[in-house]
């Protein structure tokens, strides 16, 4: 029983991070109808931003303090938001009216570009680095189960961010505009919504969430390297599709389910080497029965 609970905790912590990244994917898809392959790399950049910011912040604030941690998180989110918007303006905006495939390939190109550039000796180099402890870490033993303070931080931060996101999307003007653009771009434009700013904002928001995911991930798994976004990004992406792409709660749910299932599969001897494959198998299974994903709406095609 303790093993089950332990795996559950592990899975939820991992899933929360997938959820944060998946939200970014799904928001961009909802607004632009395309999958931003470079999103996983923004996650990586967020972690690296934290890596470089931490010593700077520590010059002002004492090391390993909550205040310091929060500042690093917020700064990293801001930096990545800006980066995300930059990528959008440079690489995706010119292709706004082109077929989706073109933008997809461009996104793949951008993703590869970021990865290989960061691997270069002059930038980050390919070797993994140790992510500093932003906050003092504790491990609590409850019964046979171990809960780490970093995992608790993941839960708390994710919930807070989800709540904030929900607030923005449902209660603010910007959020309403986002939903309008996602629903019908032309009508929204006719209603006076500035499509370009909304799309930029969406990218910025999604990237900020990815950066948060990156920092939380690095806090729990302290080794960062330029390719860390590839597998994690892919799984989060699968989670977003699995939950119904374009659907925010779906992305969150998809992320959590993905994390939990992957963790449980990983703990079973004999299945652990199929861990990556399991994620996809689940995806395919779900999509066969629910082609629009768990919470997605089937788009009826108007002929």
């Amino acid at each position: 029983m303790t093993e089950f609970l332990q795996q559950l905790i592990n899975g939820l912590a991992l899933g929360a991070i997938y959820a944060l990244i998946a939200l970014g994917y799904t928001m961009v898809y909802g607004v632009l109808r395309f999958i931003n392959f470079a999103h996983g790399d923004v996650f990586m950049l967020g972690a690296f931003a934290g890596y470089f910011l931490s010593p700077l912040v520590n010059r002002v604030l004492p090391a390993q303090s909550y205040a310091g941690g929060i500042i690093v998180l917020v700064l990293a989110m801001a930096i990545c938001a800006a980066l995300g918007m930059l990528i959008e303006i440079l690489a995706y905006r010119p292709l706004r009216n082109r077929p989706k495939l073109t933008v997809l390939i461009t996104a793949i190109g951008v993703s590869l570009f970021i990865e290989y550039t960061c691997q270069h000796r002059a930038v980050f180099g390919a070797a993994p680095r140790n992510f500093p402890d932003l906050i003092p870490a504790n491990n609590w033993h409850l019964g046979g189960v171990v809960l780490s303070s970093n995992q608790v931080i993941v839960f708390v931060t994710t919930l807070l961010l989800l709540a904030a996101l929900r607030f923005i999307v449902q209660r603010t003007k910007v959020g309403t505009a986002m939903r309008a653009v996602a629903f019908n771009e032309q009508a929204a434009a006719l209603m006076g919504v500035n499509i370009n700013s909304i799309i930029s904002f969406t990218f910025g928001l999604g990237s900020a969430l990815a950066a948060a995911g990156g920092i939380l991930f690095a806090m729990n798994y302290a080794s960062i390297d330029p390719l860390m976004g590839v597998q994690t990004g892919l799984k989060a992406f699968v989670a977003a599709v699995f939950g119904g792409i374009g659907n925010l709660p779906g992305a969150a749910l998809g992320g959590v389910i993905m994390g939990v299932v992957e963790t449980f599969a990983g703990g079973i001897p004999g299945l652990s080497n199929y861990r990556d494959g399991i994620a996809f198998a689940i995806l395919i299974g779900v999509l066969i029965f629910r082609p629009a994903g768990l919470l997605g709406k089937v788009q009826t095609e108007k002929v």
């Binding site: 989706k100 190109g109 951008v110 590869l112 995806l283």
Partner: protein, 310 residues
């Protein structure tokens, strides 16, 4: 069926075999690249059938290549000692066909469940299948697992690779240009309308996958007997992306463009070797710039409108 086409096919094969006879005189490095080009042509043209002509978005083509390659290699490794030297080409052909057939089965397995999926969902699922296939080969001891299969006899020559490519181009273009083949383009243009006109989109989609996978499998077999070594990491998502980029750059659906793109994208990295450090950075930048500057593909000249022409 165009009998003119058959003549071109035979001419192409003849030229390939003739060149091949002089293989020993060529620089091995360049010869290797030329064979790689031939293999990539098969991969790109076969994916073009699925992505370009039929409009399905498949991101797992490397998986079919893996199935074909591993099956062919396993057959050869098991039977090669039982076969006298004069029969080796026959064994090779048999192995390639078996590889193609296994890949076609995989194509069926992928095509059927994905019938109801559109666009991005289809892309993910095909990506998923590609990954699952890779993971299976990575774990299966019969196929060498992480170490891969070594010692595959080096039977691929320029002649084999380019004859295979010629055959693939011939079959697929003939297919698409035939009356039956118009169905692929109809499904690409408007699936609902096609269905309403009496064309069964399901049948065409699955057929596209099966035929595309078959040739990818053949390409995999030729590849296996060229590098003499197969490793699961060589068939990952990145490989699928490489092939997709060839199809996109060539202009989806334009076979000529796709062939030229395949040649270019195989040869270009070799030229960039001088900039070893920056090679991949340049390659990815090139992809972005090409998409920004000329997204309809580099090699689409004249009308890009629906002429239902291969």
């Amino acid at each position: 069926m165009n009998s003119g086409a058959k003549r071109w096919l035979l001419a192409a094969i003849a030229v390939a075999v003739l060149i091949s006879a002089f293989s020993a005189h060529f620089n091995r490095y360049y010869l290797g690249i030329a064979i790689d080009v031939g293999i990539n042509i098969i991969l790109a043209v076969s994916l073009n059938l699925i992505n370009g002509h039929t409009g399905q978005f498949s991101l797992g083509h490397a998986g079919f290549m893996a199935v074909g390659g591993y099956s062919a290699a396993k057959l050869t490794l098991t039977l090669q000692s039982l076969v006298p030297p004069w029969a080796q080409p026959l064994l090779f052909i048999a192995a390639l066909l078996v590889g193609g057939a296994m890949a076609a089965v995989a194509g069926l397995a992928v095509g059927v469940p994905t019938l109801r999926l559109r666009g991005d969902y289809l892309a993910i699922v095909t990506l998923g299948f590609g990954e699952i296939i890779r993971v299976i080969f990575q774990t299966s001891e019969t196929f060498g697992a992480a170490t891969g299969l070594t010692g595959i006899p080096r039977w691929t020559s320029f002649g084999w690779a380019w004859s295979g490519a010629a055959l693939c181009v011939f079959v697929i273009t003939s297919l698409v240009n035939s009356t039956y083949g118009r169905g692929f383009l109809a499904v690409h243009d408007d699936e609902v309308a096609a269905g309403a006109s009496g064309i069964n989109p399901v049948r065409y989609k699955v057929t596209a996958f099966v035929i595309g996978a078959f040739f990818a499998g053949i390409a995999g077999g030729i590849y296996a007997h060229h590098k003499s070594f197969l490793s699961p990491t060589g068939f990952d998502f990145m490989k699928s992306i490489d092939i997709v980029v060839m199809v996109i750059l060539g202009g989806m659906g334009r076979t000529v463009g796709v062939i030229i793109a395949a040649v270019l994208l195989t040869v270009l990295p070799e030229f960039l070797r001088g900039f070893a450090d920056y090679r991949m950075i340049l390659y990815s930048l090139l992809i972005v710039i090409l998409m920004l500057a000329r997204p309809q593909g580099l090699f689409t000249f004249g009308n890009t409108n629906r002429n239902a022409k291969a």
